[in-house]
Symmetry: C2
Subunit: 202 residues, 2 copies
C-alpha cells in the first residue's frame, strides 16, 4: 500500500524544533511518510544553523495528505513570499489536515486559508501573527487548536504536543501514548492548557 504523505515546508531560518518535534512524533507512523519541501528543493538552513535537505520543490511536490508549516525568524519574511503563499493555497485545497507550529500559522493566515477559523500561534509573536489576518478567530490561550482540518499550535515545543494530538485524532489515544512512551516524551496532552498564554481570544 502506498503510504500517505506528510509534507513539511522549509524556508531559510525556520525554527529547528518546530520541524523536528513533529518529525519525531510522525516519522514512525505505519501509514505515513514524512517529506521535506521548499521553494527550490535542496539544502535549507534553520535559524539554529543546521542544514536539512528538501527532497521536493514547490513545482515537483506531490499532493500532501498532511501539510505542516513551521515558524521561526524566517516566517517574518515568508509571509510576503507569494510563491509560498500560492503553494500553500494550492496544497490546502486537497489536504486532509493543514497544520502549523509557532508562526507557521501567520503564514497560513496570510495565505488566506484560516479565515473564520479558530487558530493559535507563538505567544511571543502574537501581534505579528494575528495581524496577518484579523478575520481568523485567534486564540490567545491554547497549546494547540483544532478547527476542522486546521490544526495550529503555539510556539516551538507546542508543535510536538500538537503532533501527538493529531495522532490521537487520526489513530487513537493508545497510539499517541505509545509514541510518547517510546520517545520518553512527557506529553503536555491538554490542548487548552497554555502556560505561555497571552490570555485573550477573538
Amino acid at each position: 500500500m502506498t503510504k500517505k504523505k506528510i509534507g513539511i515546508v522549509l524556508f531559510n531560518e525556520f525554527e529547528t524544533l518546530d520541524v523536528f518535534g513533529p518529525v519525531e512524533m510522525w516519522g514512525d507512523l505505519p501509514d505515513y511518510q514524512v517529506f521535506m519541501v521548499s521553494q527550490n528543493g535542496g539544502l535549507v538552513k534553520s535559524a539554529q544553523g543546521v542544514e536539512t535537505n528538501a527532497t521536493y520543490s514547490f513545482d515537483n511536490a506531490p499532493q500532501f495528505d498532511i501539510l505542516m508549516v513551521p515558524g521561526g525568524m524566517g516566517a517574518r519574511r515568508e509571509v510576503n513570499n507569494s510563491a509560498l503563499l500560492e503553494f500553500l493555497r494550492r496544497q490546502d485545497k486537497k489536504t486532509e489536515w493543514t497544520t502549523s507550529v509557532c508562526t507557521g500559522s501567520a503564514i497560513l493566515a496570510k495565505a488566506g486559508v484560516l479565515k473564520g477559523r479558530r487558530a493559535t500561534s507563538n505567544k511571543l509573536a502574537y501581534e505579528f501573527a494575528t495581524s496577518q489576518d484579523r478575520s481568523v478567530l485567534w486564540q490567545g490561550s491554547a497549546r494547540w487548536v483544532v478547527d476542522g482540518k486546521y490544526v495550529t499550535s503555539s510556539g516551538v515545543s507546542a508543535g510536538t504536543d500538537m503532533a501527538l494530538g493529531l495522532v490521537e485524532i487520526i489513530y487513537n489515544r493508545q497510539v499517541a501514548e505509545k509514541i510518547a512512551h517510546e520517545t520518553e516524551y512527557i506529553w503536555n496532552d491538554n490542548a487548552a492548557t497554555d502556560l505561555f498564554s497571552v490570555g485573550k481570544s477573538d
Copy 2:
C-alpha cells in the same frame, strides 16, 4: 571572538529528536556554534527519514568544545564502528563536555570513555546500553546524569532536558529558563526525576 564549537555526531538512522532537541536549546547561545559531523560528511538520513547535512567528516573536523552523541536504531550498528569509536576517543581527550542522548551513551561506553563514571541511557534499550561496558556506573533511574564533564541523558526527549541542564551549568539558571520560555518548552528540570525509570542502578 571565535565561538566555541558544539559537534553533534551523525550516523545513518540516528534518532531525529535526539539531535534536534539539543540543537534547538544550544543553537542560539551567544558563545557557541553547532556543527554536524559524520564519518564522511554530507547528507545523513535519520531513523525518521529526514536528511541532515554534516559539514565535517571525522578527518577534517576541528576539536569540539562540546561533543554530543545521539542514539537511535543506527546506534546498534555504530557500537561496532571502529572509526567512530576512535574519533570519539580522540575528541574526548580535549572536550570541555562530552554528552549523549539515548543510546548515544552506549556508543560512548563502547569507546571506553565512561569507565567508572555514572551514566544513563534509554530505558527501553537499557540492557543493550549497559552491556557495552559493565564498568560504567549505570543509573537506571535518571532523566540525565552529570559526572565530571560527562553528561548522559535518557531516551530521546530527555536530551532536550539535558541540553537545558548543561546550559544551567555553563551559564546559569536564568539563561536556561529564558531559552525554555522562548521556545514555550516545559522543561523537566529535575535530572533525578525519571518517569521511565527501570528502577535499578549499579
